[in-house]
Assembly symmetry: C2
Homo-oligomer: 326 residues x 2
């Protein structure tokens, strides 16, 4: 009773199609060896720089594939999404590049840098109350009124297949990759990368990484089913969903080697290290993989590791001195 | 009476040899399209990310080729250099990777981030007084005593040929390149990139960029010979030589399309823009090309432009809010 990839629209052919769609809209981001981290961790470490992706995060990958899979008449009517940040930017970026009208529902409390970016992309933006339920209700209302297609942030095979392209690039660019550390918000990126490895390089270990204060995937894997955390809190504002999706959970259970949780201190230290030593601005959500390395996550010695830097949309003032060591 | 490339050790075969030597020691840095700059400037702009180079700057290229060209017995005795920063790091990095002992003479007043980096590379470091003459005298004394080979910061064909590899990568990675903006300190990087273009793509325009307060190449080109500025001052601490080299001047006169000077305000704004919008930490010296773009340098419309980000060794706290707009 394993996961049926083809039946779920996540077979090898689906991933190939996603690759084609995604490459038309987004960038192949660099995979950079990090001398500083390699020295610090005593193993070879490379960084997959989705902070240098169009829109500043990996999210445009899933959105690009989703838009390409829509029927032409749906694409013409336009899409809508609700998000606290990077998914909104990703949808707006991919939609703009594909010439598709996009409506975005965001919380008033979204980080300023992410709000500005969505507004600059000229998508139609609606600001609503702080909770994810407020956003969802508003988005569903507009969706119904105007017959728009809803682009979900993670719980959809097209989204997962789009994010999977990030994993394919890693495997091609660094065949020695032994393990990949992937931030887990709703689990779309981790699921996509894990499926890619399962199809093409099953020996590669894929670990999800979560903040201690939002470890919904770790809790769900322990419970054997998706669980909803009673509360979540972390400086990693992109990793705050309180429950994984049913689909992303099923893939995680099948394909993830494990989930590592990291402290707030380690996350702050990681983002500052990346800025000072690797010259990369990475948001806290994108730094959790490096946080795992810096806090000596229990990985087999000598395994060459890739940390996926999932995004870079953050005010740098918050990153400097964030760890108290600057 | 043009410049005789082959006689100067800078013919096409010399550049090919440098390419081979350099690729063994340093990284092929990414050339990243910048959506933010392209939008702001109304033309396609890409960034050559030498801030992501080993050692955090382009300098390891020239040093790597220089070390490879030494006779084996000279290499075994070791090398020495004097520098206020990135050249020291570049020599220490290349020497360490090539297993060559290296001595570095630096001023006590060098930026802390650069001093730390040289010390961490375990090169033998001597700290001396603030002027370039103090450093030179000390370095020459040690060189004589111990029979070391001196690695000059820019005024040598091996150094120029090493830096030229940066230009070759640009031309390969983005065949549409119409113009390249290169920071000018002593002129080694600009000379190398200009020679590469002259050999392989003579239609590409190569501009040197200098701070208004250290515009030694612009002054020299006006005078028709290398001139020494009575004083220099700029936040771009890597661009403060007061005179170009005879060799780098001769190449600049022959191969550069022109030299652009930029204000301190534009330099600060550029470094902050690169950090906030492109998620790249770039030192002020490395941001002068982008400063030229932001201050609407007089370039032909629609020409796709590459700005070379020559280094990233800077305290990010100095970059944030540097322009007063943060």
């Amino acid at each position: 009773m394993g996961f049926d990839y083809d039946a779920q629209g996540l077979g090898a052919a689906d991933l190939r199609e996603a690759r084609e769609h995604v490459s038309r809209v987004v960038r192949r981001t660099p995979l950079l060896p990090s001398d500083a981290l390699s020295e610090r961790c005593g193993r070879r470490v490379s960084l997959k720089c989705e902070n240098l992706q169009v829109g500043g995060a990996f999210k445009a990958r899933g959105a690009a594939h989703f838009l390409a899979r829509l029927e032409p008449e749906d694409r013409a009517r336009g899409v809508i999404t609700f998000s606290s940040g990077n998914h909104a930017i990703g949808v707006a970026t991919a939609a703009r590049r594909a010439g598709v009208p996009a409506v975005v529902v965001m919380p008033r409390t979204a980080p300023a840098v992410k709000l500005e970016r969505v507004k600059a992309l000229a998508a139609e933006v609606h600001l609503v109350g702080p909770t994810s339920l407020d956003r969802k209700a508003k988005a569903e209302e507009i969706q119904k009124d105007r017959g728009l297609a809803m682009v979900p942030p993670f719980e959809h095979p097209w989204i997962v297949a789009g994010q999977a392209t990030c994993g394919a690039e890693i495997l091609e660019d660094w065949p020695e990759t032994g393990a990949i550390l992937v931030p887990v918000g709703g689990g779309g990126l981790a699921a996509g990368i894990a499926i890619t490895c399962r199809h093409h390089r099953p020996a590669v270990r894929v670990y999800g990484v979560e903040p201690e204060g939002a470890a919904k995937m770790a809790a769900s894997l322990r419970a054997g089913e998706p669980v909803t955390l009673p509360s979540v809190a972390s400086i990693a504002d992109g990793l705050l969903p309180s429950r994984p999706g049913d689909l992303t959970f099923a893939i995680a259970r099948e394909c993830l080697t494990g989930v590592i949780t990291v402290s707030e201190t380690a996350i702050r230290e990681a983002a500052e290290f990346l800025l000072r030593r690797d010259h990369l601005l990475v948001e806290f959500s994108g730094a959790v993989g490096v946080a795992a390395l810096l806090s000596r996550a229990d990985l087999p010695a000598d395994l060459p590791v890739v940390a996926v830097l999932s995004g870079g949309n953050v005010d740098p003032a918050g990153v400097i001195g964030a760890s108290g060591s600057g």
